[in-house]
Protein backbone atom coordinates (compact mmCIF):
# COMPACT_ATOMS: atom_id res chain seq x y z
CA UNK A 1 0.00 0.00 0.00
CA UNK A 2 1.68 3.29 -1.07
CA UNK A 3 2.07 5.61 1.89
CA UNK A 4 4.16 8.33 3.45
CA UNK A 5 4.77 9.46 7.02
CA UNK A 6 5.73 13.02 7.92
CA UNK A 7 6.98 14.45 11.20
CA UNK A 8 6.60 18.15 11.94
CA UNK A 9 8.09 19.94 14.97
CA UNK A 10 4.75 21.06 16.41
CA UNK A 11 1.91 19.14 14.85
CA UNK A 12 -0.74 20.73 17.04
CA UNK A 13 0.42 24.25 16.25
CA UNK A 14 1.31 23.84 12.57
CA UNK A 15 -1.07 21.12 11.50
CA UNK A 16 -0.49 18.21 9.13
CA UNK A 17 1.59 20.01 6.50
CA UNK A 18 3.23 18.16 3.64
CA UNK A 19 5.15 19.22 0.54
CA UNK A 20 3.25 18.18 -2.56
CA UNK A 21 4.14 18.65 -6.21
CA UNK A 22 1.24 19.67 -8.40
CA UNK A 23 1.38 18.36 -11.95
CA UNK A 24 -1.01 18.53 -14.89
CA UNK A 25 -3.39 15.59 -15.15
CA UNK A 26 -2.20 12.51 -17.02
CA UNK A 27 -4.78 13.10 -19.74
CA UNK A 28 -3.38 16.59 -20.32
CA UNK A 29 0.17 15.24 -20.38
CA UNK A 30 -0.85 12.69 -23.03
CA UNK A 31 -2.38 15.43 -25.19
CA UNK A 32 0.70 17.64 -24.82
CA UNK A 33 3.10 14.83 -25.69
CA UNK A 34 1.00 13.85 -28.71
CA UNK A 35 1.20 17.46 -29.93
CA UNK A 36 4.94 17.55 -29.15
CA UNK A 37 4.45 20.38 -26.67
CA UNK A 38 6.33 20.88 -23.44
CA UNK A 39 4.79 19.39 -20.31
CA UNK A 40 4.84 21.99 -17.52
CA UNK A 41 7.21 21.26 -14.65
CA UNK A 42 5.34 20.30 -11.47
CA UNK A 43 5.04 23.05 -8.87
CA UNK A 44 6.08 22.45 -5.27
CA UNK A 45 3.51 23.63 -2.71
CA UNK A 46 2.95 23.39 1.01
CA UNK A 47 -0.32 21.56 1.56
CA UNK A 48 -2.33 21.00 4.70
CA UNK A 49 -4.40 17.87 5.10
CA UNK A 50 -7.81 19.26 6.04
CA UNK A 51 -10.56 16.91 7.19
CA UNK A 52 -12.88 19.93 7.27
CA UNK A 53 -12.67 20.38 3.49
CA UNK A 54 -15.06 18.55 1.18
CA UNK A 55 -12.65 18.95 -1.73
CA UNK A 56 -9.03 19.80 -2.45
CA UNK A 57 -8.15 23.46 -3.01
CA UNK A 58 -5.13 25.07 -4.63
CA UNK A 59 -4.32 28.76 -4.51
CA UNK A 60 -6.05 30.38 -7.46
CA UNK A 61 -2.90 31.53 -9.27
CA UNK A 62 -1.34 28.05 -9.43
CA UNK A 63 -3.45 26.51 -12.24
CA UNK A 64 -2.33 29.30 -14.60
CA UNK A 65 1.30 28.56 -13.70
CA UNK A 66 0.67 25.01 -14.94
CA UNK A 67 -1.06 26.31 -18.07
CA UNK A 68 -4.36 24.80 -16.99
CA UNK A 69 -7.80 25.81 -18.17
CA UNK A 70 -10.91 25.11 -16.09
CA UNK A 71 -12.94 21.96 -16.68
CA UNK A 72 -15.77 22.81 -14.32
CA UNK A 73 -17.37 25.17 -11.86
CA UNK A 74 -18.39 24.34 -8.32
CA UNK A 75 -20.04 26.19 -5.45
CA UNK A 76 -18.26 26.50 -2.12
CA UNK A 77 -19.32 27.50 1.37
CA UNK A 78 -16.75 28.89 3.81
CA UNK A 79 -17.03 30.34 7.32
CA UNK A 80 -17.60 33.77 5.77
CA UNK A 81 -19.33 33.14 2.42
CA UNK A 82 -21.90 30.89 0.80
CA UNK A 83 -22.41 29.66 -2.75
CA UNK A 84 -19.20 31.15 -4.16
CA UNK A 85 -18.50 29.95 -7.72
CA UNK A 86 -14.99 28.59 -8.22
CA UNK A 87 -13.28 26.89 -11.15
CA UNK A 88 -12.15 23.27 -11.10
CA UNK A 89 -8.97 21.95 -12.71
CA UNK A 90 -7.58 18.48 -13.37
CA UNK A 91 -4.25 17.86 -11.63
CA UNK A 92 -2.07 15.13 -10.21
CA UNK A 93 -0.97 15.45 -6.60
CA UNK A 94 2.50 13.99 -6.18
CA UNK A 95 3.00 13.21 -2.50
CA UNK A 96 6.25 11.92 -0.95
CA UNK A 97 7.21 8.29 -1.63
CA UNK A 98 5.71 8.45 -5.12
CA UNK A 99 2.16 8.50 -3.83
CA UNK A 100 0.11 9.93 -6.71
CA UNK A 101 -3.54 10.99 -6.71
CA UNK A 102 -5.29 12.33 -9.80
CA UNK A 103 -8.27 14.54 -9.05
CA UNK A 104 -10.01 17.78 -9.84
CA UNK A 105 -9.12 20.64 -7.52
CA UNK A 106 -10.78 23.93 -6.76
CA UNK A 107 -8.94 27.17 -7.45
CA UNK A 108 -9.58 29.69 -4.66
CA UNK A 109 -7.76 32.42 -2.75
CA UNK A 110 -5.84 31.19 0.29
CA UNK A 111 -4.83 33.66 2.99
CA UNK A 112 -1.19 33.99 3.97
CA UNK A 113 1.88 32.75 2.19
CA UNK A 114 2.71 29.49 3.93
CA UNK A 115 -0.05 27.19 2.64
CA UNK A 116 -0.86 26.91 -1.04
CA UNK A 117 -3.19 23.91 -0.93
CA UNK A 118 -5.73 22.15 1.28
CA UNK A 119 -5.97 18.41 0.78
CA UNK A 120 -9.63 17.57 1.25
CA UNK A 121 -11.85 14.57 1.77
CA UNK A 122 -12.03 13.91 -1.99
CA UNK A 123 -8.46 12.63 -1.63
CA UNK A 124 -8.85 11.17 1.87
CA UNK A 125 -11.82 9.06 0.74
CA UNK A 126 -9.38 6.81 -1.11
CA UNK A 127 -7.07 6.18 1.82
CA UNK A 128 -6.21 5.95 5.51
CA UNK A 129 -5.13 9.06 7.41
CA UNK A 130 -3.36 8.40 10.73
CA UNK A 131 -2.66 11.36 13.04
CA UNK A 132 -0.39 10.55 15.99
CA UNK A 133 -0.32 13.68 18.12
CA UNK A 134 2.15 12.58 20.79
CA UNK A 135 4.86 11.78 18.20
CA UNK A 136 4.06 14.80 15.97
CA UNK A 137 3.65 12.47 13.01
CA UNK A 138 0.95 11.66 10.50
CA UNK A 139 0.64 9.02 7.80
CA UNK A 140 -1.39 8.92 4.63
CA UNK A 141 -1.83 5.57 2.90
CA UNK A 142 -3.71 4.55 -0.21
Amino acid sequence: MPSFTTQVPNLQGIGPLVEVRLAVGSIIEEVLRKDEQLVPTPILVNAMIDTGATGTVVREDIPAQLGLDPTGVTLINTPSSTDVECYEYLVRLLFPNRVVVETTVIGAPLKGQHIQSLIGRDVLRHGVFIYIGYTNTFTLSF
Partner: protein, 79 residues
Protein backbone atom coordinates in the same frame (compact mmCIF):
# COMPACT_ATOMS: atom_id res chain seq x y z
CA UNK B 1 -17.19 34.82 -11.54
CA UNK B 2 -16.95 31.81 -13.88
CA UNK B 3 -16.83 34.10 -16.93
CA UNK B 4 -14.61 31.62 -18.76
CA UNK B 5 -17.44 29.08 -18.72
CA UNK B 6 -20.40 31.47 -18.86
CA UNK B 7 -21.72 30.20 -22.22
CA UNK B 8 -21.38 26.58 -21.12
CA UNK B 9 -23.24 27.24 -17.87
CA UNK B 10 -26.03 28.93 -19.83
CA UNK B 11 -26.18 25.89 -22.12
CA UNK B 12 -26.43 23.59 -19.12
CA UNK B 13 -29.23 25.62 -17.56
CA UNK B 14 -31.13 25.71 -20.87
CA UNK B 15 -30.86 21.91 -21.29
CA UNK B 16 -31.03 20.96 -17.62
CA UNK B 17 -34.61 19.64 -17.49
CA UNK B 18 -34.05 17.42 -20.53
CA UNK B 19 -30.71 16.14 -19.18
CA UNK B 20 -32.13 15.36 -15.74
CA UNK B 21 -34.95 13.40 -17.34
CA UNK B 22 -32.54 11.16 -19.21
CA UNK B 23 -29.18 11.20 -17.43
CA UNK B 24 -29.59 12.11 -13.76
CA UNK B 25 -26.33 11.70 -11.83
CA UNK B 26 -24.10 11.38 -14.91
CA UNK B 27 -21.62 13.97 -16.21
CA UNK B 28 -22.25 16.20 -19.23
CA UNK B 29 -19.47 17.53 -21.43
CA UNK B 30 -20.40 20.99 -22.71
CA UNK B 31 -18.59 23.36 -25.06
CA UNK B 32 -20.21 26.65 -26.06
CA UNK B 33 -23.85 25.87 -26.94
CA UNK B 34 -23.39 22.12 -27.40
CA UNK B 35 -23.79 19.17 -25.07
CA UNK B 36 -21.25 16.84 -26.63
CA UNK B 37 -21.77 13.76 -24.55
CA UNK B 38 -22.82 12.27 -21.25
CA UNK B 39 -20.47 10.06 -19.24
CA UNK B 40 -20.59 7.84 -16.18
CA UNK B 41 -17.61 9.50 -14.49
CA UNK B 42 -16.19 13.00 -14.29
CA UNK B 43 -12.73 11.83 -15.40
CA UNK B 44 -14.19 10.11 -18.51
CA UNK B 45 -15.88 13.37 -19.48
CA UNK B 46 -12.71 15.40 -18.87
CA UNK B 47 -10.65 12.95 -20.91
CA UNK B 48 -13.07 13.28 -23.83
CA UNK B 49 -12.96 17.09 -23.48
CA UNK B 50 -9.17 17.21 -23.72
CA UNK B 51 -9.11 14.73 -26.59
CA UNK B 52 -11.64 16.77 -28.57
CA UNK B 53 -10.65 20.33 -27.75
CA UNK B 54 -7.15 20.26 -26.31
CA UNK B 55 -6.20 22.88 -23.78
CA UNK B 56 -9.16 25.25 -23.78
CA UNK B 57 -11.87 25.78 -21.16
CA UNK B 58 -14.80 23.37 -21.34
CA UNK B 59 -17.43 22.40 -18.82
CA UNK B 60 -17.95 19.04 -17.20
CA UNK B 61 -21.06 19.20 -15.06
CA UNK B 62 -22.80 16.55 -12.99
CA UNK B 63 -26.45 16.41 -13.92
CA UNK B 64 -28.34 17.03 -10.68
CA UNK B 65 -31.51 18.91 -9.80
CA UNK B 66 -30.01 20.81 -6.88
CA UNK B 67 -26.29 21.46 -6.69
CA UNK B 68 -24.74 20.78 -3.30
CA UNK B 69 -21.99 23.26 -2.36
CA UNK B 70 -18.66 21.99 -1.09
CA UNK B 71 -18.03 22.96 2.52
CA UNK B 72 -14.87 24.30 4.12
CA UNK B 73 -14.43 24.91 7.83
CA UNK B 74 -10.97 26.48 7.46
CA UNK B 75 -10.69 30.26 7.66
CA UNK B 76 -7.61 30.03 5.42
CA UNK B 77 -9.93 30.35 2.43
CA UNK B 78 -10.07 33.95 1.37
CA UNK B 79 -13.67 33.95 0.18
Amino acid sequence: MADLLKKELQTYEARKAELIGKYRGKFALIKDADVLGVFDTKLDAIRQGYERFGRVPFLVKQIVEIETPQHFTSNLLGV
